[in-house]
Symmetry: C2
Subunit: 470 residues, 2 copies
Amino acid sequence: MTLVSLQMPVERNETGIELAVAILAQRFGDRFSAAAALREQHGHTTTWLPNQAPDGVVFAESTEEVAEVVKVCAEHKVPVIAFGTGSSLEGHVNAPAGGISVDMSRMNRVLQVNAEDLDCVVEAGVTRKQLNEYLRDTGLFFPIDPGADASLGGMAATRASGTNAVRYGTMKDAVLALTVVMADGTVVHTGGRARKSSAGYDLTRLMVGSEGTLGIITEVTLRLHGIPEAVSGGVCPFPDLESACNTVITTIQCGLPVARIELLDALQIRACNAYSKLDLVETPTLFVEFHGSEAGVREQSELFGEIARDNGGGEFTWATKAEERSRLWSARHDAYWAALGLRPGAKGVSTDVCVPISRLADCIKATMADLNEAGLIGPLVGHVGDGNFHTLVLVDVDNPQEIAAAEGFIERLNWRAIEMGGTCTGEHGVGQGKMKYLTREHGAGLDVMRAVKAALDPDGILNPGKVVPM
Amino acid sequence: MTLVSLQMPVERNETGIELAVAILAQRFGDRFSAAAALREQHGHTTTWLPNQAPDGVVFAESTEEVAEVVKVCAEHKVPVIAFGTGSSLEGHVNAPAGGISVDMSRMNRVLQVNAEDLDCVVEAGVTRKQLNEYLRDTGLFFPIDPGADASLGGMAATRASGTNAVRYGTMKDAVLALTVVMADGTVVHTGGRARKSSAGYDLTRLMVGSEGTLGIITEVTLRLHGIPEAVSGGVCPFPDLESACNTVITTIQCGLPVARIELLDALQIRACNAYSKLDLVETPTLFVEFHGSEAGVREQSELFGEIARDNGGGEFTWATKAEERSRLWSARHDAYWAALGLRPGAKGVSTDVCVPISRLADCIKATMADLNEAGLIGPLVGHVGDGNFHTLVLVDVDNPQEIAAAEGFIERLNWRAIEMGGTCTGEHGVGQGKMKYLTREHGAGLDVMRAVKAALDPDGILNPGKVVPM
C-alpha cells in the first residue's frame, strides 16, 4: 500500500547485524533477546504503520551499558534504536533496516530530587506517572502529560507535551540537562542545573526532539513545579466547535493563565462517555483547569466563565472534588483508547497539527468539513490553548479505498496547518510518518538538519530512516 | 598581558580580505566603509578586552544583502561578523583575524505584529526599546531587558535575558522563529509561529546563543505578552547579603510568580544613588516587581512582604506610581554605568555566573570574601531569582598587579559557579572572554559543539575565534 511511501528505503547490513547480535547476546546473556514476539513488541505497535521489528533487544541498566551497545553497533555499522514504552505514534521505534533495540525500561531510577531547586534527575526509563508518584510527598509535581504513561527519555526525545503545556510548557521547557550517548559511544552531559546559561550551543534543546537520531538519552534533569495551593476545573459544553474555539482564543489572548484548556468534539465526548462511564452532553466541550491561590483560581474561573458565556457556552459543570477532577482528566487521557472503541477492529491513524491560535477555528472548521467530505470517522481532541489538535481517523485497514481516503485527508490536513503558519506535528514528533511534510515546513532548514545529522552520526546508525530524510 | 590568553590565535587571510574589501566597496558604495574610527567602533568597546577592528563594515539593509556579503566572504574565506549595537561584554564583535563586520542597525523595521497570536516579526537590528515603543498602543510588551538597549538579533545570538527572566524566561523562550543566513549564504527559516512543534531538530534554539558562529540572524519572531492589568513593586533593604539571598530563595521555592527580583549590594546602591540621584539606604537591597490582576498583585506583595520580614528585611518602600517604578528600574538598568562611576578611569570587567538557586547565598558569600581578599572593588548586582549575578570588577588597566588579581578572582569565580552545578555565563555569552571555561563546564559536550560548528561552517568564516575553541 502507499504506506510504504512514508518510509525511506534503508538497506540492511546483514553481516554487521549478525555479528552485533552474537556479541551482544554473549555480553548481555538473558538481558539480550532475539525472540520474535519480544522483537515485534519493540517495533511500532500503536497505529496503522507497519511493524518493523529490530533483530535483537538489549535491556540496558546503565548509561555505561547503553554506551557499550552503541559502541558495538558503531563498530559493525548496525542501527541502534532507543525504546522507552513504545507509546510513540509515528513509527519512531521501528527498525526499517533492522538492528538493535535498546530497551530503557530497567533504567527506572529517580536519581535526585532537589526540592529546593525545583528539579530532579531521572534515568530515561522512568515514566511520568512513576515520577509523580515518587514526588508525592514533596509538594512538587511534573506537569507534562502526553496521553500515554510514556518514559521521560522518550518524552524528551519526541519533545512531548500534553494538557498542561499551555501553562507549563513542553519538554523543550522542562528539560534542563541530559546525559546522552553519542553515535560513537561517547557519553556527553548537556546543560546543567542552573536555570539559565549562555555558555555555548544549546545541545540540550538540540537533543530534545531529535528522536534518538543524534544520540540516545539516558538521563534527564527536569524542572519541577510546586503543587498549586488551589486547583479548580470543570467542563463547559458549546453549541458548536466554532464557539468553543473562539472561547479558547479569547482566553489565551486575555492572558488568562489557564493550566489546561482542552477541546473534545461531540463524537469524542460520545466515545469518552462510553469508555469512561461519564454522562456528559454530547456536544463540543471544553475541559478546563485553573491553578493558583484560592483567590487567584476563583478570579480565573469567573473570568473564564464570562468569556465562555459571551461565546455561547452552556452551563459550566465544576468538578470541585479532587476525585471528580481526576475522573474527568483520566477520561481525557484515555480519549485515544475511547476513540478506538467507536469502531472496533479499525486502526486509529493519529494526526497532530498545531497552528497559530488566531487560525485555530479556521483550521478546525476546514478539517472537519474535509473529514465529512472524505466520508471518514475521526473524533477530535485538542490542546487548543496551544493551537494544537488531533483527529484520530478510524480506518478499516482491509479497505484500500478507505486507506486512500484517510491518506488524502491526512495529507491535506498537514498542508493546511503548514500553510496557516503552523506545523505538521505539535507534539507527536516526526518518526517515519511525518518525514514527507518536513520539506514544505522547513525548506532549506532541512539541509541544515541533514548536515547536523551527518556530523553527529556519520554512519547513520542512530535510529535510521526517521526524522530527516538523508 | 595575559589577556591574550583569552583568545585563540587566528590567522589573517590577507589576500582574501583585500579582495572581499574591494568587492564589497564596489557593491555597497557609501554603505561600505573602511574608515579607521568606524572600524574600531565595530570591534569590542565595552570592557577591558582589547579592541580588534574588522577590515571593513557593510551597512546591510535586507536579508538578501546579508546573504550577498556572506557569499563574498565565503568565496574568499574571509571572516564575517554580525554587529548589532556593540553592547556585548565578552568580545563577541571583535575581529581577531580581521574580516567584514555586517552592521545590522539599518535593518530596523518591525515587520509584523500579530496581536491576536501574541507574537511579532522584527528585523535583527530593531532594539528592545524600539520594539516596546512600537507596541505601545497594542496592550502588549516584550519583556526581555538586558542592561543595554541591545538589538533583538544580538539578544537572540547571545541568549540574553535580564530582570524579567525569572517570570518570562530568556531569549531561548522568547524566540519562536528566525531567519538566518548560513555560512554559504543560504537563507534558512527556522521554527514557525505555532506555539509548539515537534517537527525535527530545534534549529531555532541551536541558533539562539550561537553568537553568530553558526549563521547570521537577520529576522526574529518573538513571543509577546499582555501588559499586566496591575503592576506593583518597590525596594526592600536587608542587613546583609545572606538575608537578602535567603528571601530570594524562599520566594522562588514558594512558587511566588514574582516578575522581577533583583539584588544590589551596598556598594552598588551607593553607585546608583550617585549616578541616578536616588536616596536609598546603602545596604544590600532587593528590587522587586509583581505582575497580575489587582487582587493577584496585592496577594503576591503581601506574601513577599512576609517572607522578607521573616528573613530580617527592613521597611519596604513601595513605588506605587508608574513614574517612580520607572525611575527605580532605570537606575537598575544603569547599574553598569553607575558602577563605572565609582572609580573614574577604571575599566569594568564584567562577570556573569549563574548557579542553582539553593547555592546562591553560598556562591555570593564566597565570592564577596574572595573579592575582599583580592583587594578588588566590584559592586554586585544580580537577577537573583534565576541564581544569576554579576560583579563588575573595576580595574586600573595600567596596573599589572591589579589586572593579575582581577584575572585570578574572575577565574576562581567561574570555577566556583561551575563546581556548584552552575555556569560561567548566565546571559552575557561566551565571546572570547569565556571560552577557556567551556572545557570544564561541558567536557565531551564541547566536541559535539565543535562537530556542529565544523558541519555548518566548514571554513570557519562565521565570527571566528569565538564560543567554541576549534
